[in-house]
C-alpha cells in the first residue's frame, strides 16, 4: 500500500486509506492537493464518545489526527512501509460536533530515521481547529 502511494499521481490516496481496515471503518477518505493530504471523515453515530452533547470520542479525534500524520509522512518520505508512531501529544481545543471532520498534517522535521509531524483537525471552519497533534514517527525500509 505504502509502496503504491509513492508511485505518484496515478495512485489514489483512497486506495491507501481503504486498505487500512480501521480507516475504512472510521469512514476516512482523502485527497491530495499540492502535495498536501487532506482527510475527511463524515459523522457517524458509532464515533460518539459523549452521548449528552453529542460529541465525537477523543479517541476518534486522536485516530484521525494520527492517520493524517502517517499518510502525510508516507507521501512526503516516499516510504515503502507505514511509519511507526513513537509518541503523540493531542491537544483537544473544541468539542467535536456531529458533523463532518477534516484533518491535514505537515512534517515539521524530516530526519533520516524519524519525522516530527504536526497535524490539525477541524469541522466547519479550518481557522477553528477542534484538535491538534504533535508526534514522532519512525521511518522504515
Amino acid at each position: 500500500m505504502a509502496r503504491a502511494a509513492r508511485e505518484g499521481t496515478s495512485v489514489d490516496i483512497n486506495d491507501l486509506l481503504a486498505a487500512v481496515p480501521y480507516c475504512a471503518w472510521l469512514g476516512v477518505t482523502g485527497r491530495v492537493a499540492d502535495g498536501r493530504v487532506m482527510l475527511e471523515m463524515p459523522f457517524a453515530a458509532k464515533l460518539v464518545g459523549n452521548p449528552i452533547i453529542p460529541a465525537i470520542h477523543g479517541g476518534v479525534i486522536g485516530s484521525l489526527l494520527e492517520t493524517a500524520a502517517i499518510v502525510q509522512a508516507v507521501w512526503d518520505t516516499k516510504s515503502t512501509a507505514f511509519p511507526k508512531p513513537v509518541d503523540i501529544s493531542v491537544d483537544y481545543l473544541r468539542t467535536g460536533r456531529a458533523v463532518t471532520s477534516f484533518a491535514s498534517a505537515r512534517l515539521a522535521r524530516q530526519g533520516r530515521r524519524v519525522v516530527n509531524v504536526h497535524a490539525q483537525m477541524w469541522q466547519e471552519d479550518e481557522t477553528k481547529p477542534i484538535a491538534a497533534l504533535r508526534g514522532h514517527f519512525l521511518l522504515k525500509g
Partner: protein, 161 residues
C-alpha cells in the same frame, strides 16, 4: 446520595459510549479514581494491513476513555462538592507507544486519577497485553472540570470557542 447517582450515571454514560462499544471494548473494573478495560483483537481495528497491528488511534481511544472514566469516577466520589453535577473534558493526552501491539491478543488498559485540583484533574494510563510488566503504551492526560447545567447539558469547556 446525589453524588453516588452522579457517579453511577457517569460510569454508565462512559461505559455506554457508542465508540467504546463499537470497537468492542469492555469495562473490566471501575472504582472511584481507577478503571480497567479490555479490548479483544478485531479485524476492523487493524491499522497496518501488512502486519495486522492495531491502529495507534485505537490505543489512544482506549487510554482516553480509561483516563476519563478514572477521573469522572474520582470526581463522582467526592461528596463535599456543592452541586455535585460535574462533567469533564480532555485538555490534552500524551501517548508513548512503547512497543507494537501483538496481533490477535487482547489489550488491557488501566488508568488512575493522579490529582484533583479545583479546576484540573490529572490522570495516567497504561496499556499491556500478556503482562502488566510489558507495557505497549503509556498515557498522561489532563482534564478540565466542566459543569452540568440543570437541563443536563454539559457546558462547553471554553466559552466563545
Amino acid at each position: 446520595m446525589a453524588d453516588e447517582n452522579m457517579s453511577e450515571r457517569f460510569l454508565h454514560s462512559l461505559g455506554g459510549a457508542a465508540y467504546f462499544e463499537a470497537i468492542g471494548a469492555q469495562v473490566v473494573e471501575a472504582v472511584p479514581g481507577r478503571s480497567t478495560m479490555r479490548l479483544p483483537y478485531a479485524p476492523h481495528l487493524v491499522g497496518n494491513p501488512d502486519t495486522g497491528v492495531v491502529h495507534g488511534g485505537v490505543i489512544t481511544g482506549l487510554l482516553d476513555h480509561a483516563c476519563g472514566m478514572a477521573v469522572g469516577s474520582a470526581l463522582g466520589a467526592l461528596s463535599s462538592t456543592a452541586g455535585g453535577m460535574r462533567g469533564i473534558a480532555t485538555l490534552d493526552l500524551r501517548i508513548d507507544y512503547l512497543k507494537a501491539a501483538k496481533p490477535g491478543a487482547d489489550i488491557t488498559v488501566i488508568a488512575e486519577c493522579v490529582k484533583i485540583t479545583r479546576q484540573i484533574v490529572f490522570a495516567r494510563g497504561r496499556a499491556f497485553q500478556a503482562s502488566e510488566d510489558d507495557l505497549i503504551a503509556s498515557a498522561t492526560g489532563t482534564f478540565i472540570i466542566t459543569e452540568l447545567r440543570s437541563g443536563g447539558i454539559i457546558t462547553e469547556p471554553r466559552a466563545g470557542s
